[in-house]
């Protein structure tokens, strides 16, 4: 266990726990609404991004697979949850159809397409939020890794994958609400989505999912399998000549990562209230890479931290100077690449490391 929860992980999990308990309490009426209520959903959204970043760091940081399509797995998880929330609307839609979501009535569809069946069940939708991205990653990875597509070529085809999915989901005929996507959700598990308690519940679930994702990722990284993944990252040929089936390992970690991204998406959608094809846009996937690089590639905790920091900066900057955001994001990336090669987490730890000897020397003087 000590190998899995190192100091860095312990500090992060403690911080996450304080945030998860503290924020809802601070924003409750009892505490005189110290923090505005919308913060709960906002930070909940950040936590989903953080989980997505951990998922990418698992494949990129640990195994060197630079996926530029992880937004697709996130969006698929989001769509699975969105489909359930659409079914939950029932007759409360604008057209009042008891079964068909509004956009299907609008398109004159007579019955629910087969792939919408089962999504009235929350658990089925939850399973699908993991199975759909996992399966896509498995099939995609099966062909890519077996043909030994790697490096920049793999990055490009993952990018193409998410772009193709975006175009497909934009089409009304696909049956996922086309351009507008899925929205106007009412409730989840019978609870009103606009209620503060539901929002707090989703926020806590996101925090739990992030903690769980981090622990699973760390467990993989600390196992012998994690060292095989590092071997594949550093010297793929060597790993192969040692007798390791490189493509099986890549496939495993890619699929696990996609499932994790799907869970993040499924938790994200009820908190933001909408999912549309824009989530598949290549730019989104590239932004995830920036989060991870900024936080500290290969550190897992750093990836989560990077996602939350960039998301916070985005919230603040797009409110103050919306037109400057993309320049700021690009600038941040350049700065980190040039001066913080180990990311924010690496810089933080280096800084603390430099302070520590001074602190250790202090008691010596006091005793003298």
């Amino acid at each position: 266990m000590a190998r899995i929860i190192d100091r860095r992980m312990a500090i992060f999990l403690a911080g996450l726990f304080i945030l998860t308990v503290g924020l809802p309490v601070a924003s409750s009426a009892a505490a005189g609404e110290l923090a505005p209520a919308y913060l709960v959903s906002l930070v909940g959204k950040y936590l989903c991004y953080a989980l997505l970043a951990v998922a990418l760091d698992l494949v990129w940081g640990l195994c060197g697979i630079l996926s530029l399509g992880h937004g697709a797995f996130f969006a698929l998880g989001g769509y699975a949850m969105g489909m359930h929330l659409m079914r939950q609307i029932g007759p409360r839609g604008v057209y009042g159809d008891p079964v068909l979501p509004d956009f299907m009535v609008f398109l004159n569809w007579q019955e629910l397409p087969w792939f919408w069946l089962g999504f009235d069940s929350f658990w089925f939708a939850a399973l699908m939020a993991m199975a759909a991205p996992g399966l896509l990653a498995f099939v995609f990875g099966w062909f890519a890794f077996r043909s030994r597509v790697s490096g920049v070529y793999l990055s490009i085809i993952t990018q193409a994958m998410t772009y193709a999915l975006m175009l497909a989901f934009f089409r009304n005929e696909m049956g996922f609400g086309g351009n507008n996507g899925l929205t106007d959700f009412k409730e989840i598990l019978g609870l009103d989505l606009t209620a503060a308690s539901t929002r707090t519940g989703l926020f806590a679930a996101s925090a739990l999912a992030l903690a769980g994702g981090l622990l699973i990722a760390r467990w993989i990284a600390a196992s012998k399998l994690g060292r095989v993944l590092v071997a594949i990252r550093d010297a793929e040929e060597r790993a192969r000549f040692l007798g390791y089936r490189v493509e099986h390992y890549k496939l495993f970690v890619f699929a696990v990562s996609a499932v994790m991204a799907g869970v993040a998406g499924a938790l994200y959608v009820p908190q933001v209230g909408i999912i549309n094809p824009g989530e598949f846009s290549p730019a989104n996937s590239i932004e995830i890479v920036i989060w991870v690089a900024l936080g500290g590639r290969g550190t897992l905790v750093g990836a989560a931290l990077g996602a939350m920091l960039v998301a916070l900066a985005k919230t603040l900057l797009t409110a103050w100077l919306p037109e400057l955001w993309l320049f700021a994001l690009g600038g941040l990336f350049v700065l980190v690449t040039l001066w913080l090669p180990r990311g924010v987490l690496g810089a933080l730890e280096d800084g603390l490391g430099r302070l520590r000897p001074a602190r250790a020397a202090a008691p010596e003087e006091a005793r003298a």
Binding site: I220, S223, K224, L225, R227, V230, A231, A235, R240, L242
Partner: protein, 246 residues
């Protein structure tokens, strides 16, 4: 040929018209130490690629223990059969420690599940210590492989090969970039290993080949030019022409 570990017969391979290997035949016996020499482009590396399944020959027979057809196996399968390969450029896992490098190479299950749930056994730990001593890296056990000197990386890689406990080791220019003392130590190490494992060494350095003191195969333009003791092949007129005539 009866009792052979590795048997190549009539093997040819062309790359876009260039005949890298031309009707090559070679036999390696179990436990044998063999040096393969030859000028650049003689086909030494291509030969190793063919034996390890990295490259498929255009024609010819490659047999492992007289029964297994190596032309149908890939790198992973040949590794699992018991063929270990050391690359010319040291290839170790730089961001793992020296001990972890050896651990990954240790003979054992190679599947995803086995590595996810596997733990280092006491036996494995002991084997790692034995190998560390053999390649003289006990002090560097917990240092990152990437921080090792060139010669140390070469030895670590040889240690990793031994950890696999292969029946055949293919060693590509192990002495490249080593000091004289390191070169001699490496020859000594390879001589020690031979017997328990068959070792095929590709080398340029004649001092090193002399130190190995074994049967030598001279390759030229993808064919075997001469075979025998170093003294025997050095006396061969064709070999002298190929090596010294230009």
């Amino acid at each position: 040929m009866s009792g052979s570990l590795l048997y190549l017969s009539g093997v040819s391979k062309s790359f876009e018209g260039f005949r890298a290997i031309d009707n090559l035949s070679l036999v390696v016996l179990p436990g044998e130490l063999r040096a393969v020499i030859g000028p650049n482009g003689a086909g030494k590396t291509t030969m190793m690629d063919i034996v390890t399944g990295k490259t498929r020959p255009d024609e010819g027979e490659v047999l492992w223990k007289e029964t297994v057809d190596l032309t149908r196996a890939d790198e992973v399968e040949t590794a699992r059969l018991g063929i270990g390969r050391k690359f010319q450029k040291p290839s170790v896992i730089e961001s793992l420690t020296v001990a972890e490098n050896l651990e990954l190479a240790l003979k054992g299950p190679r599947g995803v599940g086995a590595t996810l749930f596997g733990r280092r056994t006491r036996e494995e730990a002991r084997e790692i210590e034995r190998l560390l001593a053999l390649v003289r890296l006990e002090e560097a056990r917990d240092a990152l492989a990437g921080s090792m000197s060139h010669g140390q990386k070469q030895w670590l890689e040889i240690g990793m090969l031994l950890a696999q406990d292969p029946e055949l080791l293919l060693v590509d220019e192990p002495a490249a970039g080593m000091t004289d003392a390191e070169t001699m130590r490496t020859a000594e190490l390879l001589r020690e290993i031979a017997g328990r494992h068959a070792v095929v060494v590709v080398e340029h350095d004649m001092e090193f080949v002399r130190a190995l003191g074994c049967k030598v195969t001279v390759l030229h333009q993808g064919r075997v030019l001469a075979e025998g003791s170093l003294a025997h092949v050095s006396a061969n007129a064709e070999v002298i022409e190929v090596y010294l005539g230009r």
